[in-house]
């Protein structure tokens, strides 16, 4: 009875705060050390001339690495490829994934088998997927795709060796691997929609298309946006599958920003410029996620 009620509540709140900090602080400090500190170091390096093949030239470069990009056609190429690669793979994944989910929802049996098949690509390492496609699926003459095109009389193609086909191929690889994600998430979301809304719409003689556009889509909008956000992040940091399938080539025809930064830093050993390229990718990622998150919180 020594404490007044207010004091009791106060110490409880304090106690909760202390407890929360004890639980959260270790992870927070660790994240600061392992993610934020390296990023500061990255930003610092992006202002340096740091070429490991010419270490005697190292020194502070100011914004030199960034101004250099303006007149670097390889940078603009990789930037454009990043935009094409990201937007096309995300759009394809959402459209194919959503169509499949709508379709599969009407199949009474066999959904379990479909889910198993859909999980396979997701759990495979992207580098293994890239290797599978490079050898078994897309290799000229003996790959699965060439077997089909040859059987159809369309002839054999160098799917990963021809610059234009190579870009389409790496987009196809990424879409193949990650569409199941969109499919599974959207299928689960669709399965939770209340059936009575559709009954009412059917009584009102709404067409299938109207039902989809005016009922289904608004209801699953949040899930679609979330899929878009997650898939965009994955596409922007895609690396291993392209590395394994084309290595960014032929030439620079599949060299998205991620691969350009990697090649510059670790193949050409120009770490200063590579850091600046990574900073651009970082900024691009931050900008895109800001756009998407704003979209998520705004009404339809």
């Amino acid at each position: 009875m020594a404490h007044s009620p207010v004091a009791v509540i106060d110490t409880q709140a304090q106690q909760e705060r202390r407890f929360a900090l004890a639980l959260f602080a270790p992870a927070f400090v660790l994240l600061l050390l392992i993610t934020t500190a390296p990023l500061v170091f990255l930003a610092w390096n992006s202002l340096q001339k740091l070429d490991m093949s010419m270490p005697w030239l190292s020194g502070f470069a100011g914004l030199g690495n960034y101004t250099k990009m303006g007149s670097d056609p390889r940078f603009w190429n990789s930037f454009t490829l990043t935009v094409i690669y990201t937007s096309s793979t995300v759009v394809l994944q959402v459209i194919i994934g959503l169509s499949l989910a709508l379709l599969v929802l009407q199949i009474p049996r066999g959904q379990a088998l479909l889910r198993v098949a859909a999980i396979l690509p997701i759990v495979l390492a992207p580098v293994v997927v890239g290797l599978f496609w490079r050898t078994l699926v897309l290799a000229p003459d003996f790959g699965l795709v060439d077997l089909v095109t040859r059987a159809l009389g369309l002839g054999s193609h160098n799917w990963l060796g021809d610059p234009q086909l190579a870009l389409i191929s790496v987009i196809a690889i990424h879409t193949w691997q990650w569409t199941p994600f969109a499919f599974l998430v959207l299928l689960a979301t669709l399965a939770t929609l209340p059936p009575d809304v559709y009954e009412a719409a059917r009584l009102d003689r709404a067409s299938a298309w109207q039902r989809f556009w005016h009922i289904t889509l608004p209801l699953i909008r949040a899930a679609v946006v979330m899929v878009v956000i997650l898939r965009t992040m994955t596409a922007l940091s895609a690396f291993a599958a392209i590395f394994a399938a084309t290595g960014g080539g032929p030439g620079t025809s599949t060299e998205i920003l991620n691969l350009y930064a990697y090649r510059t830093s670790f193949t050409e050993l120009n770490i200063g410029y590579g850091s600046a390229l990574a900073m651009v990718l970082l900024t691009l990622t931050a900008f895109v996620s800001w756009l998407l998150f704003r979209r998520r919180s705004s009404p339809a």
Partner: protein
Amino acid sequence: MKPMPRQVILGVVAGLIVSVWAFPVLWALLTSFKTERDVLAYPPVFVFTPTLANYREVLFGPASILPNLRSSLVVTCSATALTMAFAIPAAYALARLRYPFKRFSGFYVLVTQMLPPVGLVIPYYLALQRLGALDTYSGMITIYLTFSLPFAIWLMVSYFEDVPYEMEEAALLDHAGRWGALWHVVLPQVRGGIAVTTVFVFLNAWNEFMFAVVLGGNTVRPVTVGMFNFISVEQTQWAKVAAGAMVAMAPVILLGLLAQKHIVKGLTVGAVKGGGRR
């Protein structure tokens, strides 16, 4: 019976989907039992004398991936254990407790999850080089935490949010203390969530490639890098790559299939909840 043709069409389409996703994997499985000559037969052979020679080569040959498997096991298990040890308490605080700068700290965790890996691997390379820690387990495990920790925190938050408040309140009134309530009441409730999160963290870490290829070497050489043991400038040994991939991916495929239902739930819990939280 009007719906019959419609159902047949749906069935055919579903069959096509299954094959598009499953066929490359099954084809690789088939290839792993072929001789290198059968691999390059045209037209392709479906009936052939299966051989285990590729697996023998992959496991016990001069370019064996057994050391790579060992590397992967050490890195992945250590990273997973550390991740969970840090993520579970942090997620509980984020999901349940009131403390200053809570919104900011949640946002911070979310942002660290979105960092492009190439932006981390460059400074890590320079730092580890100066510390003489390239190609060491401690260096590799540290950088693996950068993607697994934020992910695990957010996934665990969604599981903690599902635990009814009343249970904790009852435990607190019983003078169990905050630690007691967390340990004896809340944690048993999220056992499933912990299992799912652990599986996801393990999968992601096992499949990682960029960090492994840049920061690894002869000592730490995870199995994703080991895939290139059978690829040289002169030739790619398809059947051995396929066999190696089967061995390397067996753990994740098995985990994926075993935890199938939970994986679907895991994917959706994060996505749907995140989508609903405005």
